[in-house]
Amino acid sequence: MTREQLARVGRWQRLPRIADARLRWLLIGGAVIYLVLALASVQVNWARVAEGMGRGLNFLAAFAQPDFVSRRGDILDGLLESLTMTLTSTVIGVALAIPVGLGAARNIAPLSVYLVCRGIITVSRTFQEVIIAILFVVMFGFGPLAGMITLAFATIGFMAKLLAEDIEDLDWRQVEAVRATGANWWQVMNHAVQPQVMPRLIGLSMYRLDINFRESAVIGIVGAGGIGATLNTSIGRYEYDTSAAILLIIIAIVLLCEYSSSHVRRWTQ
């Protein structure tokens, strides 16, 4: 029976999402084969899992009574380092991302500059912050400076890519109008491009501030300073109540950042 006849007797069915039946079954079959192979290669040591469950419960219990006090000094130091790292790296990263972003926008940059800037963006975006942090820790030594440079480097790729996309979509008529007055390149950038991308640039910088704080909690694991180092130590010592406290602080700060950044974005638009 066709779909129409089925529908007439009250057994209506939706159209399949992929119209070609052969392609549909090929995709489903491929997915099933992949899942079987992938799940077969996952080895789980169930005895170890069972042993760890008690620890897992301890951890959940620690969330009910986090311990902010006994390692207060370490937490405060880590937090201060993380926050300062976040702020400086965002400022430096955004400042460096603006020229790279201008260069990576095809409509205002010549091809050679475009390729170089896109290359910078790709390298910066491909590697996880942690991997970059490892290299910078080797170069600059342990401490927040390596972390700050890492986050600034990651910020460049993120901001420059989004900024370049924004510039590529901008309203070209305004650029033409400013150009028609005989403005030079700087004046075009300042009076035609900058006003169009500024609100989004501010919004993205706030968003990146938030991401940088979250990342600063991680790169401490490889020695780049910040609250991550404190967290890593506390988990290593099985002091779950301290770890729970640190995680709660991180969540609270991220919430605060998100709340204030949504306000700032509403204000700029």
Binding site: R17, Y34, A38, L39, S41, V42, Q43, V44, N45, R48, V49, E51, G52, M53, R55, G56, F59, L80, E81, L83, T84, M85, L87, T88, V91, T126, F127, Q128, V130, I131, I134, L135, V138, M139, F140, G141, F142, G143, P144, L145, M148, R214, E215, A217, V218, I221, V222, G225, G228, L231, N232, I235, Y238, S243, L247, I250, I251, V254, L255, E258
Partner: protein
């Protein structure tokens, strides 16, 4: 309109009022002072002796990394397969959990405001904590291995997929939903035939996007013992085998580029 008058009495247009102008200067002053203060904290906590020879250290590092030890690549296929599995299975598990959470968190499909706030708390806490931290916790609980990585990726993905999906659900057209409910459909039927078809393309796009991010994140999970190529990276770094590290970097670079390309193509095809 902000205007000043010249001594002759003719008005001059200005962009800002005097008050706004001074507030702007004050904001810049405050911002720059805050930046310098933060910079001072960092600078005090830095051993500048180590920074001075950064250039030498960097060139030393590069010279040790080159040429890459290509023969090492053969031992990386299995860890790479594990990494892909962590990302893919983690994403699947994550979106399976994020899907109901998103419907509970969206204002127009949530059954009760209390349920909605609970779902939002889940989304926020999952989003705030990086997958590496989840992995660190799970490795102590589940033991080292791929499983900890998969669950870490899944837990982190809930927040990301959940947030974007619930925003998509809140933006749907109300008319199809009204039309379906006017036929006397039950709540589930309204969701199934009125809401779901509208958000499915967005959902697929978000999932593929997250998969692509997860590939990138799963490459480092091994640093804390959660399986994949990060384990090899950790071992190579700890034994200072930088020529192996460069092979791993190139491999990660290639994988991430391919996954990004796939994800861009799929998203382009869907939307």
């Amino acid at each position: 309109m902000p205007v000043t008058t010249t001594p002759q009495g003719t008005p001059i247009w200005r962009l800002r009022t005097t008050r706004a102008q001074w507030l702007g200067y004050l904001a810049w002053l405050g911002g720059i002072s805050l930046f310098l203060l933060c910079w001072k904290v960092i600078s005090d906590n830095t051993m500048w002796v180590f920074v001075e020879d950064a250039g030498r250290q960097g060139s030393d590092l590069v010279s040790r990394m080159l040429p890459p030890q290509w023969s090492y690549a053969q031992r990386l296929w299995k860890p790479m397969w594990d990494t892909l599995n962590i990302a893919t299975l983690g994403t699947l598990l994550g979106i399976a959990m994020a899907f109901p959470v998103a419907f509970l968190a969206a204002r127009n499909t949530s059954p009760h405001p209390l349920v909605r706030s609970a779902a939002l708390v889940i989304i926020v806490s999952s989003r705030s904590i990086n997958s590496l931290i989840w992995a660190m916790l799970l490795v102590t609980i589940l033991g080292p291995g791929v499983l900890a990585g998969i669950i870490a990726i899944a837990l982190r993905s809930i927040g990301f997929v959940g947030k974007l999906l619930y925003e998509a659900i809140e933006e749907i057209h109300p008319t199809p939903v009204e039309a379906i409910s006017a036929t006397g459909a039950s709540r589930m039927q309204v969701l199934n035939y009125g809401v779901l078809p509208q958000v499915l393309p967005a959902f697929a796009g978000i999932s593929v996007y997250r998969w692509d991010i997860n590939i990138r994140e799963s490459t480092v999970l091994g640093l804390v013992g959660a399986g994949g190529i990060g384990l090899q990276l950790n071992a190579a770094i700890n034994s200072l085998a930088w020529s192996q590290v460069s092979v791993i970097f190139l491999m990660i670079f290639a994988t991430v580029l391919v996954s990004e390309w796939i994800s861009a193509r799929v998203r382009h095809a869907i939307i």
